[in-house]
Amino acid sequence: MELTELSMLELGKKLGSGELSSVEAVRTSLDRVDRLDGRVKAFLRVDREGALAQAEAADRRRKEGRRAGPLDGVPVGLKDLFLTEGLPATAGSRILESFVAPYDATVVKLLRAAGTPILGKLNMDEFAMGSSTENSAFFPTRNPWNLETSPGGSSGGSAAAVAARMVFGALGTDTGGSIRQPAALTGTVGLKPTYGRVSRFGVVAFASSLDQVGPMTRTVADCAALLQTIAVHDPRDSTSAPVKAPDYLSELEAGVKGLKLGLPREYFELPGMNAEVRTAVEGATRALETLGAQLVPVSLPHTRYALATYYLVAPAEASSNLARYDGVRYGLRASGAPNLLAMYGRTRDQGFGLEVKRRIMLGTYALSAGYYDAYYLKAQKVRTLIKKDFEEAFRTVDAVLSPTSPTAAFRIGEKVSDPLAMYLNDVFTLPCNLAGLPGLSVPCGFTAAGLPIGLQILGRAWDEARVLRIARAFEREHDFHRRAPPLGRS
């Protein structure tokens, strides 16, 4: 088998036995990047020297019998909003184009401790706002399964890099679906953990009460292993919960016998769902039933308000989080401004793309005097009702199933000028961000045109182990995770 076909854990084993070296793995990955990324355009920055040095260190550790763990030496990629000391962190934006991170994000520190060489920084929708990576200030990333289509977003670069086997795994962030939706569109596995499971320190903030860091991989076991590495309480993040992570791999093969899986009526009734997606997902739920799970209809009555709720809460928090990009201490500063006010206005107008500006405006409006009660406060109240819907459902079921995305990958340029149409990509994914619950996407089929389809599994708070186990049970019986995009061996 080609080296780059190995999963993270499989590679890890071969590195551990000495059969392969990390340097070899990094070089092979870099080769692949050189051959493919000209077309896929997943990377914003490739750190050849750094990755090779880290690989050499991993190989040294192995020789000295002190491997850092099962993933020591396995090359990974990082969405470009993780601060990685000494490397740029652009968040996909011109306003941070020249910003060099002066410190490491906590999750980056954890990855370094685990020994995974960081190949580079991956493309994304600007400030994580988008569902197609078309909002990147630099260029759109292309879906390896069909280069005319989008890999989804905002972690589109991460998803594409994993799908194209340029990295073995990656980290992304998910605020309204930004890990799961691109995972679904690229036939990979993506997990958004429970809010507070993973540290946000050193992660460029979009919406503070919704953002979470998560793993993006080709297999469910890899996802569990990568999650294990980053699911650590961080005293530098006051929203990081002091809940010790269980061993995510130990129960992975336990299967779904006896589990009750909820099918939320409102999700399946949503207009705009692609017929092929519906068929694939319904087939997947029946497959789980065959494996011993019980399918239970449930109702999440406030689902129809989730989009509106999200598009008030997230932009409001974002409008405040992005106020620091003012040209004073770092990042872009517009030249030639006669005074401070002009400097602010021009810097932010030049530095931010249209979608970011749109959300800043929306969020500012929702918080402004006279509108706070009707918009922001109201949305936060409806959010409570959405949370309660899930709490109610989880009294009778162990997990909730749905499509991850209403459609498969769409053509680049198709939706970008209609914000509302673009926002609809997240209808299935954003409710669990509002509720703070874990959610995962696992490949469950392909359209006739060969585009991947994802099954979403939502779980109770802190129940990632069960979510992973359900995904694994499904994955085991299918070979979707072994299919590779037709990028050719060029």
Partner: protein
């Protein structure tokens, strides 16, 4: 509901965004459409509901009052667009 150009300009001012006339017009249309879409929230009965102000749990972690090493001047100012000595320099603030 339709936003007026005045309202768009007011919000842009609050957000320190110098929008072009074209951007203002686009914002006016698109924001109005989005606000229309979110208006349906008004129909939900939230009279007895508390807002979810905090997604995280109840734990309020505190740190002890110990001085930790600060950044060196280079690190603090390394990304500064303009500096004078170890201060950040900005265009004059009109008082």
């Amino acid at each position: 509901m339709s936003l007026t150009l005045e309202e768009v300009r007011h919000v842009a001012g609050l957000a320190r965004l110098s929008l072009s006339a074209e951007e203002e017009a686009l914002m006016r249309t698109q924001l109005s459409a989005i606000l229309d879409a979110v208006a349906e929230l008004a129909r939900v009965d939230t009279s007895k509901v508390e807002p979810t102000s905090h997604a995280a749990g109840e734990v309020a972690p505190w740190r002890s009052d110990e001085v930790q090493p600060s950044f060196s001047a280079e690190r603090s100012l390394g990304n500064a667009p303009a500096r004078v000595g170890t201060s950040f320099a900005v265009p004059r603030i009109i008082e």
